[in-house]
Symmetry: C2
Subunit: 318 residues, 2 copies
């Protein structure tokens, strides 16, 4: 049986899986990225993980190759460069280093571009030529497809929309030191920052008055919204408003038929989704109103990113 | 001799020319768009103008077709829709109407997309696959090329970057009623608005204290900068700052190799150009610094838009 290794390197977790030609992830595991600050130790862990996954399957498995999705990845150079949400700094030649350990065809790409490719090959974008995949995890990523092709940019760094400034230079500072970067508002981290902002702005009672920033987790905020916590509700409303404006702005760029939203923040369900739909339509230019869909990924939620990464290799077999 | 009619429909002027296969405009004329609020009268004027231009040339001229660049044009529908800078409101089926009068192959496109195509065929982008043309006239337009192809979007309205909001909903209102739209800052009109803003913010002496908004023209502002008028200098600095931030944001989208800047505002020369280069590099993410060029069009300044429009037809003969 032919399978592809899909690896999603995230700020929090590294997810690895074995993916078949329909995009189904047969076996997967994850570990915490931050526990491996030494790249060599990290790559050993990746290699061991792939080995472990193959042992779980029948003996006739053949690995066609390995696709990797990662923030700030350059598909042309095979590197990760200055990723603010990862532990390794500077330029990391990850493709070459991993290929030494696991000699097989290998490709790397911006995690959101990999997600977009996965959506085209396996998911809900099979018939689309113009769409944008948005990943809302530790950071904010975008994979842009226009004229039926992924946009890489001049040297592979297109789609860094988490670093777009929508505040005329007067907003929150991101991990990359850019003022007002969208990622500082719309991401798992951004939502936590917004909880603190709302606590500073309003005097409502809230469970978050007794939780520190470091002890705050995204799931707690969703839970608090379920319980009617006014600070949690205000934080989701604020986040959805900025995301709605951002997606309306992006529409003016390539006029996608749809946005596919994925990642931790989207798992907050209706608390983010309902205000987002409303604010997005509100901000859209008249010429676009009613024409742009906000959709969820067509891939299984837990292994979306793994299937996306595997699509980098499966693409060559279509 | 084979020639193509190129028509640039602008908020202020309509420019018409006859363009050869190298993109050279052999004959041209213009008239004021606003003087023809009735579409039928306008189209008669266009037809007469084309006829007049052909009479200026030797008898063996053969017109291959007609390309039109216009704000808010839909290439797929052959229409201009809700253009805030034009006198005709709603949806204008301009291609069908003009073809009744002048039966020949005809295409229409967003003026900035036409400019981008002109730059690819005839200008300084012949070797480029990823670049953006920005037109700074009465409004703000963008023609985006990625993977060697113009981006049209889902139904032909990509590149409406003049309506991107960079102020989190708290900025100037544009002609389309969008708050904070870039066009309200960075365009011939935006520069005039900034003169008023600077007069309101500062108390410097300035020739503009005795000129009304309606009597204010872009050329006067350039002239005033030459004379050291502090309000004019502040207005250019402010405009360049916002444009620099906008182009840095756009870079995060498709990572172009270059921006080509054209239109009235760029004719202000160093007053806009020098602060723009500086602020653009300042706002660029580190991963892009030093990699993105700000360039002028490679087409003759007075007929850039005409050649761009003609490229819509010449493209088919390559």
């Amino acid at each position: 049986m032919d399978l592809v290794v899909g690896i999603d390197i995230g700020g929090t977790k590294t997810k690895i899986g074995l993916v078949d030609k329909e995009g189904v992830c047969l076996e997967s595991l994850y570990f915490r990225t931050r526990e491996y600050p030494d790249l060599t130790v990290y790559l050993n862990k990746v290699q061991e993980s792939v080995h472990e996954l193959t042992t779980r399957l029948p003996k006739d498995v053949h690995l066609l190759g390995c696709g990797i999705g990662a923030p700030n990845a350059s598909s042309r150079n095979g590197t990760i460069e200055n990723a603010s949400n990862l532990v390794w700094k500077g330029t990391v030649p990850i493709l070459a280093r991993l290929q030494e350990k696991m000699p097989m065809p290998m490709r790397i790409m911006n995690d959101a571009s990999a997600a977009a490719l996965g959506e085209m090959l396996f998911g809900n974008a099979k018939e689309m030529t113009d769409f944008i995949a948005i990943t809302l995890g530790t950071g904010f990523g975008a994979g842009i497809v226009a004229n039926g092709k992924l946009i890489d940019g001049y040297d592979g760094f297109a789609g860094e929309l988490g670093h777009v400034d929508m505040t005329l230079g007067d907003g929150r500072v991101t991990g990359l030191g850019v003022k007002g970067g969208l990622e500082a508002y719309v991401s798992a981290t951004g939502l936590k920052r917004t909880i603190l902002y709302m606590l500073s702005k309003h005097m409502d009672e809230s469970k978050f008055r007794s939780i520190s920033y470091n002890d705050l987790h995204g799931e707690d905020i969703t839970q608090a919204a379920e319980e009617g916590d006014p600070i949690a509700l205000k934080a989701f409303e604020y986040t959805a408003d900025i995301l709605g404006l951002a997606l309306a702005n992006f529409t003016a760029f390539t006029q996608p038929e749809a946005f596919f939203l994925m990642g931790g923040l989207i798992n907050s369900g209706k608390w983010i989704w309902e205000p987002l739909q409303r604010q997005f339509e509100h901000y859209l230019l008249d010429v676009y109103k009613g024409k742009v869909k906000l959709l969820r990924s067509g891939l299984p939620p837990k292994t979306t990113a793994i299937s996306g990464a595997a699509a980098l290799i499966w693409e060559d077999y279509r």
